[in-house]
């Protein structure tokens, strides 16, 4: 047994509590006298993804002992439409179901057993309507309309991001490679399914605890859908048992709010089981991509033309916003003079798609990197060298026409991979493949924009309090879905206030006691709130020194220092314990509140006009990934033997947290690349549980090495950038590149299942060799 390396950083503040099972998630919160709510989704059993609701019959359900109420669309006050940007999704469907998971009724029962029986006794008469399940077919003139009468038909949004003249440049480019790619639906498969508890309090406040990434915004989504005053909705967001984008926006929230309104003041709990989570949860958008990439003979990229078609499913959710990031990142992290990227985001009767780590970028990465490999092969260039020639450097303009003012260290990432033994020894390692196996080593360069982009303030407001006993409370206002931001906040506060870790208590988001700070998403969580927190801590320090100066009768506050547990006057050694200062000051004076707004691109290019919000981004995280794989020549099964990520996330605040994000992102990316094969037929989900939808187990993933580029993002807290997203984008293309090295075939459709790999092997000239 080899000796494991020593832990690189102090442990995360939340880790031990979670390991011993003491952390209380939303899933664990259940009031004594609560009712249990469940949605009736008739499309799944009836195999109807598009249908007219003729009747909903609750009589048998209401006869079940313990069933308290059954609610339908007629019971929904307000707009009965939820959605983050576009409000097009009914809380309960009254007339039409548009996908197999659409709910038509909400059952409230006194026990989980009664709820189960009640849901089983529900009946609905649904008249099947012709459905549309292919996004390109949905754009045809006579296609069934997902939202009848909608102006624009099934096209949610068509958009163009353009720089230069790609069409003309492609005509004259000496070398052009082309390809069609597809990337699949992906299920978040967080271990804690969507859940929450809600209660209408006597004062009219709707009090909720929800497993959510966006507690502040949720109030407005619920308020709109149910006709409630958003400021009378109080939401708490404890630690999430995973989120990855799938808990950004209302999952259980509107249904739960509705249930609570009709529960006579009793608390109501709702937990989706795994099947419901897969049926009704938001998923990664499946995307089809058509690419043409032109270059000079020396490998310099000249022009890119690309079209993406997004399947948003039955509702908009964040379809247009996710597509925006796809389009902005479509040309990869490269300098390119001419780029034309067209996107269409389309309604179908498929399950609803939404945010997922790598938010649109994971979908385009296999395409731009796939063509880079084909270009390298065509030009006889080393694939790593081709990337180095074209890699974005500080001050370069990216393919969307934005000049990169922030930190850019892609070349350092590529250098780290180039120098690593996993790369330098690749020829020998590949040659040593065991019988009936082929080995390949592949790499990919990726990036991911950080923050909301232009057009909506990416802001956080941090609050810090000196307690009456001399400790500090940090009011985190951005949910922790597992990425460790709350621990990072505690760490930052303890450093900035020069206090022991034990002196800092971190509180989870609560819309009553914290200030709106946006969602936990977009690689912005630690960056934006962390910056606000550092400002608040600095303000707190200044205040404590000023108060301390008055009490210690020192003339100038700057002659004092904040030390663990006290304000100190170094010249005389006198100290004022914070515990005493905490008692002396009024609570109003023990608070510090500061905001931070992420910078946006100055002089944004005049393109992407269809996007009212979110375009463009100006700070990016970068990464280079390497995969070593072994392909079983008989079965097509791919084993990932080694994996390496070199990541530019600015300065590293907490090495272990940084590595966790790199490895965790890569793990989800490897699932996306190899294992996760979401199947549906005519809008009905065939992979309805974790025994048919396979996420990687400990036996499927290799040990991973994580390297950090030495960079510093000047605008970031302590120089950091968000690294939560970028790790997701590398594995798809890195595995495709490794497959090419192993088999000589360019695979363009994810996931690379054994069937697809075997088929590619059979077709490839190199595949047939004995």
């Amino acid at each position: 047994m080899t000796k494991p390396p020593a832990p690189p950083s102090p442990p995360r503040a939340d880790a031990l509590q979670k390991a011993i099972g003491a952390e209380r998630y939303t899933f664990d919160i259940q009031a004594e006298d609560c009712l249990f709510a469940g949605a009736y989704r008739p499309g799944a059993a009836a195999k109807i993804a598009h249908g007219r609701v003729r009747a909903v019959d609750a009589a048998a359900a209401l006869a079940v002992p313990g069933v308290v109420r059954v609610l339908t669309a007629a019971d929904v006050p307000g707009a009965n439409r939820q959605g983050i940007v576009h409000k097009d999704q009914p809380v309960l469907c009254g007339e039409v179901i548009r996908h197999c998971g659409d709910p038509v009724a909400l059952v409230l029962a006194a026990t989980p057993d009664a709820l189960r029986e009640g849901l089983a006794a529900m009946r609905a008469d649904i008249e099947p309507l012709p459905g549309v399940f292919d996004p390109e077919a949905a754009l045809k003139k006579d296609a069934p309309q997902v939202h009848a009468g909608r102006k624009g038909g099934n096209l949610l949004l068509g958009a163009l991001i353009e720089k230069g003249n790609a069409r003309a440049a492609l005509k004259t480019a000496p070398v052009v490679v082309r390809g069609r790619f597809s990337t699949p639906v992906q299920e978040h498969a967080f271990l804690e399914t969507q859940c929450g508890q809600a209660q209408l309090l006597p004062d009219g406040v709707l009090d909720m605890t929800v497993s959510t990434q966006s507690p502040f915004r949720d109030r407005f989504e619920i308020g709109h859908a149910l006709g409630l005053d958003p400021f009378k909705i109080h939401i708490r967001a404890p630690h999430l048992g995973g989120g990855f984008g799938g808990k950004d926006g209302s999952t259980v929230q509107c249904l739960l709010g509705l249930a609570a309104l009709k529960a006579g003041g009793r608390p109501v709990r709702m937990v989706w089981d795994r099947e419901e989570s897969i049926l009704a949860g938001y998923k990664r958008h499946a995307v089809r991509l058509r690419y043409a990439l032109g270059a000079e003979r020396d490998g310099t990229l000249v022009a890119l033309s690309c079209r993406v078609v997004f399947d948003t499913g039955a509702y908009a959710h964040l379809g247009a916003e996710v597509m925006e990031l796809s389009m902005e990142h479509a040309a990869g992290p490269y300098r390119i003079a001419h780029a034309r990227v067209e996107g269409r985001c389309v309604y179908t009767n498929n399950p609803v798609a939404g945010a997922f780590r790598g938010f649109g970028v994971a979908q385009v990465s296999p395409a731009f990197e796939g063509l880079m490999d084909e270009l390298a092969a065509k030009l006889g260039l080393d694939p790593l060298e081709l990337r180095r020639i074209n890699a974005l450097s500080p001050g370069d303009e990216n393919s969307a026409g934005v000049r990169l003012g922030g930190s850019v260290h892609l070349n350092e990432c590529l250098d780290a991979v180039a120098a690593h033994p996993l790369w330098t020894t690749r020829a020998q390692w590949q040659a040593e493949a065991p019988p009936f196996a082929r080995r390949g080593v592949g790499l990919a360069a990726v990036f991911n924009g950080m923050g909301y982009g232009r057009g909506l303030a990416d802001m956080a407001i941090a609050k810090v309090e000196l307690t009456g006993t001399g400790g500090f409370l940090v009011y985190s206002a951005v949910a922790d879905m597992g990425q460790g931001n709350s621990s990072a906040f505690a760490f930052l506060a303890s450093q900035e206030l020069n206090q022991e870790a034990a002196a800092i208590t971190l509180l989870q988001p609560d819309t009553e006691r914290c200030h709106p700070s946006g969602s936990s998403s977009a690689g912005r969580t630690t960056y934006t709130y962390g910056n606000a927190l550092l400002k608040a801590c600095a303000a707190m320090r200044e205040k404590l020194l000023a108060r301390g100066a008055a009490i210690l009768m020192v003339d100038r506050a700057q002659d004092l220092e904040l030390v663990p547990g006290a304000v100190r006057h170094p010249a005389t050694g006198r100290t004022l314990p914070l515990a005493l200062l905490g008692r002396l000051l009024h609570r109003d004076d023990r608070l510090a509140v500061s905001e931070f707004i992420m910078p946006v691109a100055e002089n944004p290019p005049d393109t992407g006009r269809a996007f009212m919000i979110g375009f463009p981004h100006c700070i990016f995280a970068f990464a280079a990934h390497l995969a070593r794989i072994e392909v079983d020549g008989l079965t097509g099964r791919v084993r990932v033997c080694d994996y390496l990520c070199a990541t530019d996330g600015g300065r590293v605040l907490h090495r272990q947290g940084f590595d966790q994000q790199a490895q965790g992102g890569a793990a989800q990316g490897l699932g996306y690349a190899l294992f996760e094969d979401f199947r549906q037929r005519d809008g009905n989900i065939l992979t309805r549980d974790l025994s048919t939808y396979l996420i990687p187990t400990a036996l499927d993933l290799p040990d991973m090495a994580s390297l950090a580029a030495k960079g510093c993002e000047q605008s970031g807290p302590r120089g950091l950038k968000g690294v939560g997203e970028v790790g997701m984008n590398g594995p798809g293309p890195a595995i495709a590149a490794a497959l090419y090295a192993a088999t000589g075939a360019h695979l363009r459709d994810l996931p690379f299942t054994p069937e697809r790999v075997l088929a590619a092997l059979k077709k490839s000239p190199r595949g047939r060799r004995p």
Binding site: A189, T697, A698
Partner: protein, 163 residues
């Protein structure tokens, strides 16, 4: 039916429907909220508990199957209030992110080390392969179990060396 067993060393006896799922009995009737549920169909391992020292999935067990057994959950893995070496190593080595799989994962790891105090990385991977984690990619969990094994071996050696 009347059911008697021990939960984390404490004798419990209660009247329960024999077809009640063990996970519901543990969480709802006995407040063992450290036992998580991620799928209800035996796929994710979050509800893992030790039954007479063997890792079992409490979502697939019926209450009646606990009769006379020693049931240990994540909260009871350590001695008294002290966490198990595996749990401390989880925290130190970055094995915990969202943490929802962690109690079940700690149960799986503790069960492994009880039977195989010096496992290889591959043996560790096999032992935890019934426990899904969506956050970590598992490498740091394997690191943590290795570290815990070393710590336990060292503690045993010191114990054995005492006069």
């Amino acid at each position: 039916m009347m059911l008697c067993f021990t939960l984390n060393g404490r004798a419990v006896s209660l009247d329960v429907a024999p077809d009640r799922r063990a996970v519901d009995l543990l969480r709802e009737d006995l407040g063992a909220l450290d036992v998580k549920e991620g799928c209800g169909t035996g796929e994710c391992g979050a509800c893992s508990v030790l039954i007479d020292g063997v890792q079992k999935l409490s979502c697939l067990l019926l209450a009646a199957q606990l009769e006379g057994c020693a049931v240990v959950t994540a909260a009871g893995l350590g001695e008294g209030d002290a966490p198990h070496a595996v749990q401390r190593a989880f925290a130190e080595h970055g094995a915990v992110q969202c943490g929802f799989c962690s109690p079940g994962m700690a149960v799986a790891a503790a069960a492994l080390l009880a039977g195989n105090p010096q496992p290889t990385r591959q043996e560790i991977r096999r032992a935890i392969s019934g426990n899904l984690c969506r956050c970590t990619g598992y490498a740091m969990i394997v690191d943590a179990v290795e570290a815990a094994a070393q710590e336990l071996a060292q503690a045993n050696a010191e114990e054995g060396g005492k006069p």
